[in-house]
């Protein structure tokens, strides 16, 4: 049996590499999801963007990078800085920060292999069909729900 029998999430509409980060963030907050896959104009998988990666972009670079500041308590709320950086998200695209080198699941991936990869991943994994076409995303919750139903638990 492969993951084809599992009802994974279909691809999210309208998120392409040139979609603004702000739009991607609004979509994720609206749909209560933390990860969204990108696809190019041909429907091929182009990476994943997450609320974590967008939140990182709000943090000043001096704290994000290696040997950077490890503590920002002294900077207080810095509400203005955060607000200004949120506004900047409108001018930036998801393609700039999307994670491309992620493990992917083939459409006919066996369920145990999918379970292994998901257990090692911190995010849902993209399901890729022929020619790299994005078919959807499979999350741990979806897989576990399916397994529970199969086991009649």
């Amino acid at each position: 049996m492969s993951i084809q029998s599992i009802p994974y999430y279909p691809p999210t509409n309208g998120i392409y590499p040139d979609t603004s980060l702000l739009d991607a963030l609004k979509l994720m907050l609206e749909k209560h999801i933390n990860h969204v896959p990108l696809r190019d104009v041909d429907g091929k998988f182009s990476g994943i963007v997450s609320t974590q990666s967008i939140l990182s972009e709000l943090i000043p670079a001096s704290a994000r990078v290696e040997h950077g500041l490890s503590d920002l308590k002294f900077a207080g709320d810095s509400a203005q800085l955060l607000s200004s950086r949120l506004h900047d998200l409108e001018r930036r695209t998801v393609g700039e920060i999307a994670k491309i080198n992620v493990p992917v699941l083939d459409a006919d991936c066996p369920i145990l292999e999918a379970a292994l990869l998901l257990s090692q991943s911190t995010s849902p994994l993209p399901v890729i069909g022929k020619d790299g076409i994005l078919l959807g995303m499979l999350s741990r919750r979806t897989l576990l729900t399916y397994l529970m139903q199969q086991a009649e638990l």
């Binding site: 000043p60 670079a61 040997h67 308590k73 207080g76 810095s78």
Partner: protein, 445 residues
């Protein structure tokens, strides 16, 4: 062990001069190309000096300046522990608020604290601590960070010039020749202060006049809480006390008949003791391992290997020849020799690592003692120190601290390009050497 170097011919029938010079040139060429980590290159070169028979192992060990090694190691431990307290961030935020987050005032104060820290600690650690806070503040003020990074680079090299411990060339010169902490301050701080002011004036004329930040952005920085930057008040008290004692020790070293290396290592061990006191053996082991892991062993072993390579080339006689050639070139004229050493050191230090250059020049200048008196020789040391330290401002590769700033800036999305930097930095460095020439002339020549 037979004294292989005492024979006239060594490896393949070549003379010690030929063998040592070959190993020396190959080692230095490999260091310059940076294709292999320099500590590996230096140790391989050191090994070849011994295996080829130029040096016996005992001579190689004798050639290692353990005063320099222990001073560097001790200071690295002291800084590694102290920085965990957040004191550097505290100082940077405090000075930013002191000048009311005015962009130009901020540049001046960040440069001043960089220069002061660089005089007392190593330049690389100083910039690693100052640059992140500087970038955060410039981010908050929405001003370009480039003038600040440029100024921090210059301030670290100028500040490092002023004391025995500020820059590795000074540590090596002071150790080899017996110059004290006070000697460096009295002889080099005046000209370094003048160069620092002139550098700030230049930066003001280029960038400072146009620096602006909105009242709202400045208010944001004014809202920073400097005291919240102190993550460990107990550690802060302990480390500042020990560093204070160590620096006092450096100042008094000559009077108490002790070497800076011993003082630094003792201070490091003392601070480590304070850190682990009362902890169980597992915690002690963990803390001690973690602290020792923060020593830049790559740098330490680079020095070890380098000292042996230089000892080899000195034993082979090449440095006698070099000293002779240099005197021939300058006609044995003292002022000409001093100014030549100053300018050649500066130009070399702008393009290659100044540490191997200084390591080689120390025995060369020592050999000039046969021609020049003790007082005149001291002037040559100041010329070497000024040239080697200030020359580092000439390009991004001129000093390790420059590369660290550039690397950080690149990762933070604010790259410093090699050519734009050098277009301003190199002429500014030459100007600082011109000022140093005038200083040497007026004071010593």
């Amino acid at each position: 062990m037979h004294g292989a170097a005492s024979t006239a011919q060594l490896f393949l029938g070549l003379s010690p001069l030929a063998v040592s010079l070959t190993v020396f040139v190959l080692t230095y060429a490999a260091i310059v190309t940076e294709k292999i980590n320099r500590s590996i290159v230096a140790l391989l070169g050191a090994g070849l000096m011994i295996f080829s028979g130029v040096l016996q192992q005992s001579e190689a060990v004798a050639g290692i300046d353990f005063n320099t090694i222990s001073l560097l190691t001790g200071m690295m431990v002291l800084v590694a522990i102290t920085q965990k307290s957040g004191v550097f961030q505290y100082v940077a935020v405090s000075v930013a608020k002191w000048v009311k987050a005015d962009p130009w005032g901020l540049l001046v104060m960040l440069s001043v604290i960089t220069a002061v820290f660089s005089a007392l600690l190593d330049n690389v650690t100083t910039v690693l601590l100052v640059v992140p806070v500087a970038l955060l503040i410039t981010d908050s003020l929405r001003v370009s960070p480039y003038p600040y990074l440029f100024s921090i680079i210059f301030a670290s090299n100028i500040g490092g010039t002023t004391t025995l411990i500020g820059d590795p060339p000074n540590i090596m010169i002071g150790s080899a020749v017996g110059l004290t902490f006070s000697d460096f301050v009295v002889n080099l701080a005046p000209v370094a202060a003048v160069i620092f002011i002139l550098t700030l004036i230049t930066i003001y004329l280029i960038w400072g006049r146009k620096m602006r930040a909105s009242p709202e952005d400045r208010a944001q920085v004014m809202a920073f809480d400097a005291r919240a930057a102190i993550t460990d008040p107990r550690l802060l008290k302990q480390s500042l006390t020990v560093i204070g004692v160590v620096i006092a020790g450096f100042v008094m070293a000559h009077h108490i008949g002790q070497e800076p290396g011993t003082i630094a290592m003792f201070g490091a061990a003392l601070l480590l003791l304070l850190r682990v006191f009362g902890k169980d053996s597992e915690e002690q082991s963990h803390e001690t391992h973690r602290t020792w892991a923060e020593v830049e062993w790559v740098t330490i072993f680079f020095f070890v290997g380098l000292f042996v390579v230089v000892a080899g080339v000195e034993k082979g006689g090449a440095l006698d020849l070099l000293a002779g050639k240099l005197l021939e070139l300058t006609g044995g004229d003292f002022p000409t020799t001093a100014i030549t050493i100053l300018w050649v050191s500066a130009i070399f230090s702008a393009v290659v690592d100044n540490i191997p250059f200084v390591a080689t020049m120390i025995p060369v200048i020592q050999k000039m003692g046969a021609v020049f008196g003790a007082e005149q020789l001291r002037t040559l040391w100041w010329a070497l120190a000024l040239g080697a330290c200030l020359g580092g401002n000439g390009s991004l590769v001129g000093a390790s601290a420059n590369l660290v700033v550039a690397g950080f800036a690149e990762r933070a999305g604010q790259p410093i390009r090699f050519l734009p930097f050098i277009l301003l930095a190199f002429p500014l460095m030459l100007a600082s050497i011109a000022v140093s020439s005038i200083y040497l002339y007026l004071r010593y020549l």
